[in-house]
């Protein structure tokens, strides 16, 4: 444990991923669920960058995947927030358990 290696980064990203999973399972508010998804995506990004840095220094593919994931996360967040605002306008709530008008 004298030097910071790949395992340290993998442990951080693993912990971050499961914190995101915990948040996604417990929260019932759409915005906080979106935040949990962002945490999960970020843990994946850390993984890609760490693998690129410590295992495949001769390539740049990890960086490209990270850039694409960041782009898609931005698009996803924008669409999700548009949906949330529309849901709030129609139901006056963004709680997932109260928005059940398409259920029956």
């Amino acid at each position: 444990m004298n030097d910071i290696g790949l395992l340290h980064f993998l442990f951080v990203s693993c912990a971050l991923f499961f914190i995101g999973v915990y948040g996604f399972l417990t929260r019932r508010n759409l915005i906080t669920m979106l935040m949990s998804v962002e945490l999960i995506l970020n843990s994946v990004n850390i993984n890609f960058v760490a693998f690129n840095k410590y295992l495949y220094v001769d390539k740049l593919d990890g960086l490209f995947f990270t850039i694409f994931i960041i782009t898609i996360a931005a698009a996803e967040a924008a669409v999700a927030i548009a949906i949330i605002i529309n849901l709030y306008r129609n139901h006056k709530t963004i709680d997932v358990e109260e928005a059940d008008s398409m259920k029956f």
Binding site: I19, N29, M35, A50, I67
Partner: protein, 201 residues
Amino acid sequence: MSASIIIFYILAATIIGGAIMAVTSLKIFRSAVFLLFSLIGIAGLYFYMDYEFIGAVQVVVYVGGIVVLIIFSIFLTHGSGEDMKRPHLLRAAFSALAAIFGCMLTMYFIMNQIFVVSNKAAVEPNAGNIGAQMLSTTEHGYILPFEVVSMLLLAAMIGCIVIAIKVKVPAHEILPEKGEDELIATPDNLKIEGAAGNEAL
């Protein structure tokens, strides 16, 4: 214990602590601010790994874009200072158990995994190399995903506008309904309705 190790642990504590507070805080605005700290810590981790370009992209897109968007939508949909509902105790307990068990299992597999390190010459991860390889059309170029992602961004932008736009209904389309409401509501109209009823009788 060198400074580099201490910096790594500070960054890791920022990321993990911020993330835990972001998913457990009952005030939604605080939750967003803790998410901000966590994302800044991740950007610091990229700078720590000498990938300045990715770190800069992380700061610009996540910290400057997505978190601001999230805070904006919180302001649009929540009264200030309201607490969120506390999660069910049973659900929270089982979610925590699942998360901890999954985390342990994954860490166990990571520790037993043997990673093979490539010993070819390193490529400098500066913006020039990244741009040249990402936009190249040769075998390992990423020009096709790049174009596909640009189409996706365009589609997402148009989709956002279509979903969130408020359609104004023209006045002549809502007038008849309103007329009926007025018929029922006001006593003057009730009289007219009664008269019409008598005529029918």
